[in-house]
């Protein structure tokens, strides 16, 4: 992330905004909602509170305009520049302008720009963030069409805004008026906009405390799933991802939504078939295939497509053996073997884990193949196993990969 020169910020926690006019592309209520959701994104990770006002001067004035509109940066017709906003300050400071020559929508479609996404980015500027060069961050300057249901800020955005304002205050200290969760439904938009009357009461948006990422070196740290991806290793827990890469020394902290915005948090299992550049994610009785950032079409699919009986409702862990082209699925105290070449479950399975892997007596939370060994995770421990000899080599803490 980066900030503007001299890092200007609002010197107060109550910031006002006003919507000066509306785009005819959307229902006014949808514009109001998109802007309110965009503010909520930032208030959820800072002590800031945003209040909408309907007249007079607000800290952040929001407007739609085309071409030259009285500031230093004229808009350029459809495409190109979509919007811009000014760093915190008096006058034009904090204001956000949206190019009326664009087609604004409440959806993520190919025929328009999602107002919530663009507004959330611009309001980042209004609060003092400049552009980030981290791909996937909201403050990355390029518009990236993503599904905005359950949209969450990238860790880089959170780090940036909290460097300026700090984290949210403790819930006890918060006002009790909470912004209701509003998740838009991705559906066909209505054609004709209908005017809505402004409400007389100002709308106050207050933050809700986001879940905390567990500490890397917490000895009790457990994982939902682990997989390799193009030479890197990804550890999943809830919405969080720890990324260990041979290309950088530090462990990178991300969220699932920053890589795959439309996937649901809390994977049960994951594994990579490196020869196909494909990672499969499992959640309950469904699975998804991704290639890098791209989610393959036709997913999710039911896990029964892989050959599981209908009695299996979820997978605990999965790991692909690159040398044998077999994938092992762990469910309770049993495991299955799937032949990736024939795309079918092998005969003779399921078998008891403890029968074939001596010393592994617990269900497996996550599994990983690395450096010729298999690592089976249970709670805060992991077991290093030599698969050829099916022999337990040693036991370690689950977070031994994080240089603690």
């Amino acid at each position: 992330y980066s900030t503007f020169p001299y890092s200007p910020t609002w010197k107060k926690e109550d910031v006002t905004y006003r919507i000066l006019n509306y785009t005819p592309d959307m229902l006014q209520a949808d514009v109001d909602e998109a802007i309110a959701r965009a503010f909520q994104l930032w208030s959820s990770v800072t002590p800031l509170r945003f209040t909408r006002v309907y007249g007079g001067q607000a800290d952040i004035m929001i407007s739609f305009a085309a071409g030259f509109h009285g500031d230093f940066y004229s808009f350029d017709g459809p495409g190109g520049t979509l919007a811009h906003a000014y760093a915190p300050g008096s006058g034009i400071g904090g204001d956000a302008h949206f190019d009326e020559d664009e087609n604004w929508t409440k959806f993520t479609t190919n025929s328009g720009y999602n107002l919530f996404l663009v507004a959330a980015h611009e309001l980042g500027h209004s609060l003092g963030l400049s552009h980030s060069n981290v791909f996937g961050a909201l403050m990355y300057p390029i518009y990236m069409p993503v599904d905005t249901r359950n949209y969450q800020l990238h860790q880089d955005d959170i780090d940036g805004i909290q460097a300026l304002y700090g984290p949210p205050k403790e819930p006890d200290a918060l006002p009790t008026k909470a912004f209701p969760p509003q998740e838009p439904t991705e559906m066909i938009p209505a054609e004709a906009p209908t005017p809505t009357l402004p409400r007389e009461e100002p709308t106050e948006i207050t933050p809700s405390k986001p879940p905390q990422r567990p500490d890397d070196c917490d000895p009790h740290l457990t994982f939902d799933a682990i997989t390799t991806l193009r030479g890197e290793t990804l550890f999943f827990k809830g919405s969080y991802v720890w990324r260990k890469s041979p290309y950088f020394s530090e462990i990178e902290h991300d969220t699932i939504s920053s890589f795959w915005p439309s996937l649901i948090d809390g994977f049960d299992a994951a594994y990579e078939v490196d020869k196909r550049d494909r990672v499969l994610f499992f959640k309950d009785d469904q699975y998804w295939a991704v290639s890098g950032y791209r989610i393959e079409s036709g997913f999710p699919r039911p896990i029964q497509n892989l050959g599981f009986p209908s009695s299996v409702r979820r997978i605990d862990a999965a790991v692909h053996d690159q040398s044998t082209k077999r994938t092992y699925f762990f469910v309770g105290n049993k495991y299955w073997s799937y032949n990736e070449n024939t795309q079918s479950m092998e005969r003779g399975y399921p078998r008891k884990i403890a029968s074939d892997f001596q010393g592994i007596v617990h269900p497996i939370d996550a599994a990983l193949q690395k450096n010729g060994y298999f690592y089976f995770f249970h709670g805060s421990n992991q077991y290093e196993v030599d698969m050829k000899r099916k022999k337990l080599i040693r036991t370690m803490k689950s977070n031994s990969w994080f240089n603690c």
Binding site: G80, L82, S130, N133, P141, I142, Y143
Partner: protein, 80 residues
């Protein structure tokens, strides 16, 4: 295949505008030293390529042009 001269001209104009808007590039309109201008432009292209994680060639290659054509925020990427 080589790029058609007309397209090359258009791409160059687009790149100059982009670098002026977002990378604080200023073309010397009446400069006698075009080579100096091109060198400064190559520096700015390199800066832009670095920001977006592209290969830093300083040349206006296809990947760089494609990135310049993406819809984006109007705030500059570098401080002027």
């Amino acid at each position: 295949f080589p790029v058609a001269p007309e397209k090359e001209q258009k791409d160059m104009q687009l790149a100059k505008k982009y670098l002026e808007n977002f990378y604080d590039f200023k073309e010397e309109k009446h400069s006698l030293f075009k080579a100096k201008d091109l060198s400064r432009m190559a520096d700015k292209i390199r800066e832009m390529q670095s920001f977006f994680g592209l290969e830093m060639t300083g040349e206006l290659n296809q990947k760089t042009l494609d990135m310049m054509k993406q819809p984006r925020c109007g705030i500059p990427d570098v401080r002027s």
